[in-house]
Symmetry: D2
Subunit: 290 residues, 4 copies
């Protein structure tokens, strides 16, 4: 991470015209502090005329020192997959409701970012997953996930069957709607809906959460993040691989999916005093009594 | 139910050549007792030459007094949907492992059926579900289910959103992978994998079991079987309706699915001494200690 | 139920001085309408001087046409166990937060009760459980429960073992922290915390919910309310029976607990337009998004 | 760990006369190899006359190079709590059924141990928990746990309320039957019955699993093993602290329980080729289909 930050990328939620005003306001504020501000090209399409240079995400990943994302957790997921391999730290601003990844608000954004530019921030590394699909000797698909990689039935089948190996060792054959391989970040997303535990985001672990498993004792399993997970599809060909609810890939019978920790973590910057447990209480409504 | 039984349908699991010999053996046994034996046309395709008349399922439903099914629970589900509306009682023979619906074995089949022909059986009524899809004023799809009707995401979306009404009253909006509307029979099938309770098969109830619901307090709900359930799809068009893992239908945005109890229950015949709880213990491995 | 109501019992939450004023206000309002108002003796201890006759709950159960309870669901549970056997209908007023059983508020109480006195109410029957403990030939304990009967480990043991029979038929041996036998009313109370489904309060069913069962496939089971449940304690003597979190009894090894539906249901009166599903949404925070 | 092993402790399950013969046979076998064999004093009470010196567990912990335990997982838990602080490695022999901690059988015991004495073994470190109870400024209780520390309601109360802090930071207030703080070893024991995930035993993590929590979104949480957990009891005085289902302590209102990782892990020795996942499949019946 290059600090102090000189080159700052501003990225907004896709197709959300309401971010135009606060984003340009923030750009002006940062420019006024002498920073080099660049606006994401997709975001820029929806802005009125402005004086800032425009780059696409890939260009930003190579050139920027910091990325500020205005949107929700979904936007952050997408940006993190691009920025993580290039070590660009991320700051998330939510547009209303507190997010797990977006802890600044539009209201406190300028003050908080001003403090961050002076070094008042907390750095957090979050692991990403890398998944590859092997068909015979060929790699036919690969991708990154910040929340989870999901192997799931597609539209025709009622259940899929697959085998899981961990570090080359047989774990189980399972019949289920699918299997979620989740990062700690993803543990409060889809994995939680399917019955998985909350994993503190600092943990170096990965969880496997079966979706509606046929065998009732098939519980979520947490393993170390350095494990090599192999998922082999059996008997059904109507299976799909999904990365973070973002992109997906149609699997064929006997495809092997290999999931590992991505070598580069995503780097999140939080305001000083940020509390993960506070976010958890807010998001899971633990403050409210029945 | 017409008793004593005169006209007996024999139906085997689809594409299971191993049922040929026991099925023809049973046919000979029943013929020898003076009964009129008819073989299902699909089953018959896989049998060697035999002297028994052949009918399709629809013809059997109109003409037979009793249907004997050799196969597994899946076969029974399919046959029950056809036979129930015509009040033809069903006997199930499993081909190895005890089933929830198939409680005779190939070994005890002849003796047990002989006893049943003399009236030594227990009758059990099981409710079926009827589902219709309304698109504007038109009914575009309808079908029966013995286990469950499922509204679920199809291949592209990561989550669906729908509204549920019970007897015209708003229950909830829900974001989830889908919703299972299950009979008591289906409570030990897919609904159980998704976290639903076991419902004794004699109960006049229906359960709604969300699949991986976004809101963690969205628990399975059991309501009376006379309830009219309406499911309205919101915001996502990539949704599918499934009947018993058997057939399915692609829904469109704003389709309304109406699920009600089918007016005619399926009638199962069990040997005297049949125990549902015994089957439950066997199937859920409660006899085995960790 | 005797209607129109002439004799009305007023009962307040125990040790809650804040109910004094609204309760006496209601008494005056009802007296002014010519009704015979009686105040519960325990409640009365905490009221300033007032002109209304005082009775204990047992006397009220014999003499009153209607019982109005100001408090929370816990108070309603206690009163219902006494009133149900004598067919006295109950109206519940909550003191702040909506309850499952208390659907009037202090604010709308007078208007709503005035309407109810004119017959504008909805009647709902709710089943109660009756439990007896047999030790050899002797009945050593008996009691009623509106929510649930719980058999649970007491303070020393780490797990208990018991056998369950339904209508004389063996269901299972189970090792667990305990077993909850719940009414539909209780399905949103302790049974829900232990993983049980929501049962619509109109259902004639009982659910058995194991607490932290050793065998992972031991799911909640719903059976018809006419079932006779027998629970036999095995191998551990440190077991306790609990009625509605209200009273409890120390069991001995080989005690048999028999749980059945109580012959008399509790009768709740709701305002016209009352919606169970509305209460469910409010109490389970389904209206709120994460 | 001192290797090669010279001083070997033999310890049998308490009050299990059937271990006498295999234990003395093993003693003879090890003596014959020139090792110094010592028998646990409690175990020794149930043995016929034998020539081996006897020590209690505390003496063994100071003097022995290896402890061989014949019994089940419960026996291993108890021995591990004593041996871990003194770095004595443990080998477990089960008396019938495979255990999570006891992976040798009576049949293969001599051959496997002979191989282990030659260095053919796999070493595994498993973390233990240390819990202390603070009352005002005084520490009134402390203990170790290999599986879990449990804070739970005792016999009178129906629910307890407590606050949890992690590393000084507020996590939540919770109403529940109790809270399990579990090691990875304990994740397949009580924590699993209460709904917790499986944690691979090599992980440096601790899980918090609520027991029948009042708030339905209160899911198990996994945190790093270096966390300092504080549990503060609120409003109910009838609360108990339990260590491994072994010993327990009555808490008072406002007691603070502090749970941390014990500085010394337990060291288990496994035969070469030992597979945790194999044990998992066997114990959770994953090999068996419904």
């Amino acid at each position: 991470m290059k600090f102090p930050f000189q080159n700052v990328a501003l990225i907004g939620k896709h197709k959300a015209p309401e971010i135009a005003e606060p984003l340009l306001g923030l750009a002006e504020f940062l420019s006024g502090k002498g920073l080099h501000v660049v606006v994401d090209s997709l975001t820029g399409e929806h802005l009125k005329a402005h004086p800032y240079p425009v780059m696409n995400l890939g260009e930003m990943a190579c050139a920027m020192d910091l990325a500020i994302v205005i949107g929700g957790d979904g936007t952050m997921l997408n940006i993190a997959r691009t920025m993580a391999p290039c070590h660009v730290p991320l700051v998330g601003v939510n547009m209303g409701r507190l997010g797990f990844l977006t802890d600044l608000t539009l209201e406190n954004m300028q003050d908080t970012i001003a403090a961050m530019l002076e070094g008042k921030f907390v750095t957090e590394q979050r692991l990403l997953l890398s998944a590859r699909v092997l068909r015979g000797d060929a790699e036919v698909c690969s991708g990154l996930a910040f929340n989870e990689v999901v192997v799931h039935r597609s539209n025709i089948s009622s259940m899929i069957e697959f085998e899981v190996r961990i570090d080359g060792e047989y774990l189980y054959n399972q019949r289920a709607d699918g299997l979620i391989v989740s990062t700690p970040t993803g543990s409060t997303a889809y994995a939680m809906s399917a019955g998985g535990p909350i994993l503190h985001p600092s943990l170096d672990v990965i969880e496997l959460v079966p979706i509606s498993p046929h065998t009732l004792s098939n519980r979520p399993i947490v393993v170390k993040s350095t494990a090599v997970l192999e998922i082999l599809t059996h008997r059904c060909s109507d299976i799909r691989l999904r990365f973070d609810s973002h992109s997906s890939y149609d699997l064929q019978l006997h495809d092997k999916i290999v999931v590992t920790r991505h070598p580069e973590p995503a780097c999140l910057l939080h305001p000083v005093g940020h509390s993960y447990y506070h976010t958890l209480r807010e998001k899971l409504l633990w403050n409210q009594t029945l």
